[in-house]
Assembly symmetry: C2
Homo-oligomer: 148 residues x 2
């Protein structure tokens, strides 16, 4: 049971990298090189991100990818939805039609609660969140070195 599959994970890495390049276009080759991710696989991911409107793509020489939206509008949940579908923990087998066991339904209700809590924890996470917290970590590192 994974929360993120590999393509979502790679998408986050790629988008983070692109975001760092503030407007400069980044090619799939560069990303693949820097992030050590298979070029073909990454290309597929980027094509999806482009189709879904998260990045803007430029073809041909000098082309590549840019963020199509500001980092605080790129939500982790959107990436999850794109690459993994909706967060639905509860695959009801009988779809409420003649559930053979009311106890199971009670359990499913509990699972729905868990699902809601996952979603509300994921909801506020954007690309910007991740980039900012990184800066915080680095700031702290520097501070520690100074006071030592």
């Amino acid at each position: 049971m994974k929360l993120l599959t590999r393509n979502t994970d790679y998408a986050v890495r790629a988008l983070s990298y692109i975001a760092m390049e503030k407007g400069k276009t980044v090619t799939a080759a560069e990303l693949s090189e820097e992030l050590k991710i298979s070029w073909s696989f990454l290309r597929k991911i980027l094509q999806i991100l482009s189709r879904e409107g998260l990045v803007f793509s430029i073809k041909g020489k000098g082309g590549g990818f840019k963020l199509a939206q500001p980092a605080d509008r790129i939500f982790l949940l959107d990436l999850i939805n794109i690459f993994q579908g909706l967060v639905r923990l509860n695959t009801c087998i009988t779809n409420n039609k003649a559930c053979p066991n009311i106890r199971i339904c009670i359990l499913k209700k509990k699972i729905d609660i868990i699902e809601d809590s996952i979603i509300s924890e994921l909801h506020p996470i954007t690309l910007k969140t991740l980039l900012n917290e990184q800066n915080d970590v680095i700031q702290n590192e520097l501070l520690n070195m100074q006071t030592r």
Copy 2:
């Protein structure tokens, strides 16, 4: 992304049924019949439950299964662990060795928090919980009918 796979789900159903029969042995055939679950598949599940010490099995004519532990000692989390492995949302790709992207690690920390919250929500759920809440639901139904 499912929280419970089919075998865990079936295990819950089977254990619930067995629990209702207060000490009487229940055969795989009866369970399969009543719960509308494939006999072969259910048998495999029961064999695992038996091997793991959750049910006590009696071979031969008149045999079958009984709970090997009181219902309040059969934890949903144990079933999940048995049939699906540990609840680990966070499959780190590089295992903290030269993580190529500190932002990802920040994300992973958030995922760990989510994982903890799932576990703490699952932790108190036992077979007894499910059986009791079922009774509560039925009690309420009866009450509603009376006051109507």
